[in-house]
């Protein structure tokens, strides 16, 4: 079996995870910090396939759901940024135990860049890969609110007029987002220029603001970047994912 489903203990419940272990000696471990809200659902298949492709290059990859998200325990309302960092720390510990004495990499996707960067800051992972990172939580929240507004007003979504489609502060793109999480996101800022550039890789359509000169930049093409702006689910193309895994193995990580 190439992917092992498992539970990870953390204060407040169990996290669900899937560990992709290579058939060859492990060269490094990757903790995959998923994006938040609807983006977690939308990208699940893409990153399951990427994990499998990276496994083929000798990486042990652990995917997991934060407490209160996906298949992990906890209510939707219990999901917070602090909780996401705690979940990630528990997942990193398990990956370290299973992968052995190898370097660990934090792969943070979109808002998942924040818990991944926290692990980097704490020295729990040695390298940081950021995929289309959300640098400012406040801007992100604003974008999601605008998007949710469009969804609520869409005659495609709601063919019948209804009175209760006004702004709902307690949800973001259909997911509960209470005051604590809103406050955390409002204050969440990721400064790339303060990081050790030699250990930083960014994957995006273009270089984000403040990207240090010595960091590695991998440009994502449309097939791998567009999911973040789409709502409709569709089959994910495998070939670009395999090509990206090869590039990451070659340029994003040099043992």
């Amino acid at each position: 079996m190439t992917a092992e489903p498992l539970w990870i203990s953390v204060a407040g419940g169990r996290l669900f995870g899937v560990l992709h272990m290579p058939d060859v000696p492990v060269r490094a471990g990757i903790i995959l910090c998923p994006p938040f809200f609807h983006e977690q659902v939308r990208s699940q298949r893409l990153f399951a396939l990427l994990a499998d492709a990276l496994r083929g290059h000798g990486f042990a990859v652990l995917r997991f759901d934060y407490l209160g998200t996906g298949d992990s325990e906890g209510s939707d309302e219990s999901f917070t940024l602090l909780g996401a960092a705690r979940s990630t720390a528990a997942a990193v510990d398990l990956l370290g135990q299973r992968a052995g004495q190898v370097p660990l990499i934090g792969l943070g996707i979109r808002a998942g860049a924040h818990p991944a960067a926290e692990m980097f800051k704490q020295g729990k992972v040695e390298r940081l890969w950021l995929w289309q990172p959300i640098l400012r939580g406040r801007d992100y929240l604003e974008q999601l609110r605008e998007r949710a507004h469009v969804e609520r007003q869409s005659s495609e979504r709601y063919a019948h007029p209804r009175a209760d489609l006004a702004e709902d502060m307690d949800t973001v793109m259909g997911f509960p987002c209470g005051a604590a999480l809103r406050d955390e996101l409002d204050h969440a800022e990721l400064a790339l220029d303060g990081m050790d550039a030699t250990r930083l890789t960014v994957l995006d359509v273009s270089a984000p603001e403040g990207l240090p000169a010595l960091s590695t930049m991998l440009v994502l093409d449309e097939s791998l970047a567009a999911w973040a702006d789409q709502l409709d689910m569709a089959r994910v193309a495998v070939a670009p994912i395999k090509a990206l895994a090869a590039r990451l193995a070659e340029t994003g990580f040099r043992a």
Partner: protein, 263 residues
């Protein structure tokens, strides 16, 4: 709440069994099938929340991915119905379940319907935005909706309709895995005679279902059987975007499951 358990299905496939404790093992298990390409946790985590609500009532459920969806990385040439029946075998062998309720949203409703017809272990079908035909009542509802708008909006509606037709010539029946028109009447009759409980819910997001009388028009006399429940929620969208709609749906499904299948 009993803890959820990972169940291996063979190959790289697995699923999560909720309420798999001894108290419910000889009871009925709800199989939550993939809604389109959305992985097993469901749209907006709907399947997870439903599973945990049902577990409180002592009802087991199993969420998992069909080959090529979510965590089931490998696609398969094996017919999907065969795969699903083999998964039911695995749940029977490993956890003793011999009765299943199957279905879910959209394509999950279609697959659940076929599974019920193919396997006598299926005792219930959950069909959300499943099969319905666009007959006279659909046309009447469309006309009524158009006439309710001011005349200035009629032309806009007609243009929009024409644009949609030009962009997509496929009807709902062609896009979905539905039988030839009329076949469903014999199918529902057979399921009702077998004692299968059927729960149909149509949302406002099902563009092919505009009038509640379409249900009887589609399924004929068997639609009025005691074992058939039908609801029309025109104010809801297809994936239950609003938290209040999701809560309402989870409670609705939990009550139906409890009434029909609680141990």
């Amino acid at each position: 709440m009993s803890q959820e358990a990972i169940v291996q299905l063979g190959g790289d496939r697995f699923g999560l069994l909720s309420a798999g404790d001894a108290r419910v093992q000889r009871g009925t298990c709800l199989l939550l099938l993939n809604a389109g390409f959305i992985h097993r946790s469901g749209p907006f985590r709907l399947h997870v929340r439903l599973a945990r609500r049902l577990a409180q009532a002592g009802i087991a459920s199993f969420r998992f991915d069909a080959p090529g969806i979510g965590d089931a990385l490998a696609r398969s040439d094996r017919p999907l119905l065969e795969t699903m029946r083999a998964d039911m075998d695995a749940l029977e062998q490993q956890h003793g379940f011999r009765r299943f309720v199957v279905g879910g949203l959209c394509s999950a409703a279609d697959l659940g319907w076929q599974l019920a017809l193919a396997d006598p272990r299926v005792v219930g079908v959950l069909s959300i935005d499943g099969l319905a035909r666009m007959g006279w009542w659909y046309r009447w509802a469309r006309l009524r909706r158009l006439l309710a708008k001011p005349p200035a909006a009629w032309m806009q509606s007609l243009k929009r309709h024409s644009r949609r037709r030009a962009a997509s010539s496929m009807s709902a029946a062609e896009l979905r895995d539905w039988p030839e028109p009329g076949v469903e009447r014999g199918q529902i009759k057979a399921l009702v005679e077998r004692g299968v409980a059927l729960m149909f819910l149509f949302t406002g997001g099902a563009g092919y279902f505009l009038h509640p009388r379409q249900f009887g028009e589609t399924y004929s006399a068997a639609s009025k059987a005691e074992s058939v429940q039908f609801d029309h929620w025109p104010q809801c969208d297809h994936t239950f975007f609003k938290e209040t709609d999701r809560r309402k749906l989870i409670e609705h499904l939990a009550q139906w499951m409890t009434r029909r299948f609680a141990p």
